[in-house]
């Protein structure tokens, strides 16, 4: 059975390593914070100026002056710090953040990513995504394998305006975990009950499939 958004978040949470600073994008990536494995300590960076972001505030304790990059009210963990936007992106550009998780509209087999614009139709802007993908050494994309029309979002080349080039290292979708290297997607795991055939059918880009593809352990 294909994963839901929470399943994708849970699977990505397994990628976390102790001691990492992590930036989570808006949408599915934000959910990853809820599933940090026991024994793993990570700190979340929010590019509007937080290190050590905590959970949502208790009802009635929300503060308009304390939000995350998704404009949601949040809290601070002990040891947190606040800084301006230039310092925040100094952390990101300077590669002090070990992992970036973000959503995408398209990912290509060469690691290109598109997630900020549909010409003539939708222009939300890139926000911090271009800085993140140009800088981070470890970029995981969290998204559905196909769009609402059923077309693959895992492509040989992106058709939409790019957010960054040759940057995505891993993709976790509702169907599969794939690494991105040597101009191909490399299938690592299947969602529980999803067949390799289903993944192949949903993937437009070059897909390398090893002899054995284990099921995810969510």
């Amino acid at each position: 059975m294909a994963l839901d958004k929470i399943g994708i978040a849970k699977r990505i949470a397994q990628e976390l390593e102790n001691g990492w600073y992590v930036n989570l994008g808006i949408g599915i990536p934000t959910l990853v914070a809820n599933y940090v494995p026991k024994g793993i300590e990570v700190e979340f960076q929010s590019e509007n100026g937080i290190l050590g972001m905590g959970p949502f505030p208790f009802d009635g304790e929300e503060d308009a002056d304390l939000i995350n990059a998704g404009k949601q009210t949040v809290t601070l963990n002990p040891g947190a710090s606040i800084f301006d936007s230039a310092t925040s992106f100094a952390m990101i550009r300077g590669q002090h953040v070990q992992l970036t998780v973000l959503g995408a509209m398209e990912v290509a087999q060469n690691g290109d990513i598109a997630n900020w614009k549909i010409p003539g139709k939708m222009v939300k802007g890139m926000g911090g995504a271009m800085d993140l993908v140009a800088s981070a050494q470890n970029i995981i994309v969290a998204m559905m394998h196909t769009n609402k029309k059923g077309d693959s979002k895992i492509l040989s080349t992106c058709s939409l305006p790019l957010t960054g080039v040759n940057c995505v290292t891993k993709v976790v979708t509702n169907l599969a975990v794939m690494s991105v290297k040597d101009n191909a997607f490399h299938l690592i795991e299947r969602a529980p009950g999803v067949t390799v055939e289903e993944i192949k059918n949903a993937t437009a880009g070059k897909l390398i499939v090893p002899d054995v593809v284990p099921e995810m352990n969510i």
């Binding site: 009635g60 301006d84 936007s85 802007g125 271009m130 800085d131 140009a134």
Partner: protein, 231 residues
């Protein structure tokens, strides 16, 4: 060096049509509400506004968008404003979308006398079009230039009469950077205190960057996404 002005009217003296303005804030957090209201009241037109976001339909810069006072926006993310999207797609509004980190750094650079710097952000994308590319450590970077503004409008938590500022939590965001980059930097604060009351060791923005400061009449501080958990 007293920088205090007594009203938002006085604070905005000299703002005219066709000017370039910077406005602090991230989403609706830490925006100069009082100055925006006054800009709307004054009806100043053909503005170029540099701001990370464009407000929502009925708050923040959205107030100036619906009265069509803005000719051009320089922003990184504008996803929360339908009127913005409509004006942009119809071509009524000029829009320059730039990566958030580049926007922040370009404002800082404008205030710091650094006319240009290299960043990897945007290489290989539309953002890089027409910009110089140079490879450092095997990685291509693009040359981004400094931004400055005729007026910068900044919202701070506390300020003293000399213009020293302290921001609260994530309402800091772009405010300290834009404070540096305004030819005239106007600050609205929630609390205005005498010089000497703020600890010199914990000033976020030194008064040298501030030309005018006033106590804002009211702060709505609207929350865009109220997310809570139950006890």
């Amino acid at each position: 060096m007293n920088k205090v002005v007594n009203s938002v009217e006085e604070a905005l003296e000299g703002v005219t049509d066709n000017m370039t303005l910077m406005l602090g804030g991230f989403g609706l957090c830490g925006i100069p509400e009082n100055c925006i209201s006054e800009l709307a009241r004054l009806g100043i037109k053909n503005l170029t506004c540099i701001s990370n976001n464009a407000g929502v339909d009925d708050f923040g810069l959205g107030l100036l968008l619906r009265t069509k006072q803005i000719k051009k926006m320089i922003s990184s993310y504008v996803g929360e404003n339908d009127e913005f999207e409509r004006q942009m797609l119809s071509g009524e509004l000029e829009v320059d979308l730039i990566p958030q980190g580049s926007l922040a750094e370009r404002c800082r650079a404008g205030g710091a006398g650094i006319p240009a710097f290299y960043t990897p952000a945007g290489y290989g994308t539309e953002v890089a079009e027409g910009k110089e590319v140079k490879v450092f450590n095997g990685k291509p970077h693009i040359l981004e230039t400094a931004l400055s503004a005729d007026f910068a409008f900044v919202k701070a938590w506390k300020g003293d009469t000399e213009g020293n500022l302290i921001f609260k939590a994530t309402a800091r965001n772009f405010n300290p950077l834009m404070a540096m980059a305004g030819k005239i930097t106007v600050v609205e604060v929630e609390e205005l205190v005498p010089a000497g009351e703020l600890d010199p060791n914990f000033i976020h923005t030194p008064g040298i960057f501030v030309q005018r400061i006033f106590k804002g009449e009211k702060f709505e501080k609207r929350i865009e996404q109220r997310t809570v958990r139950q006890k």
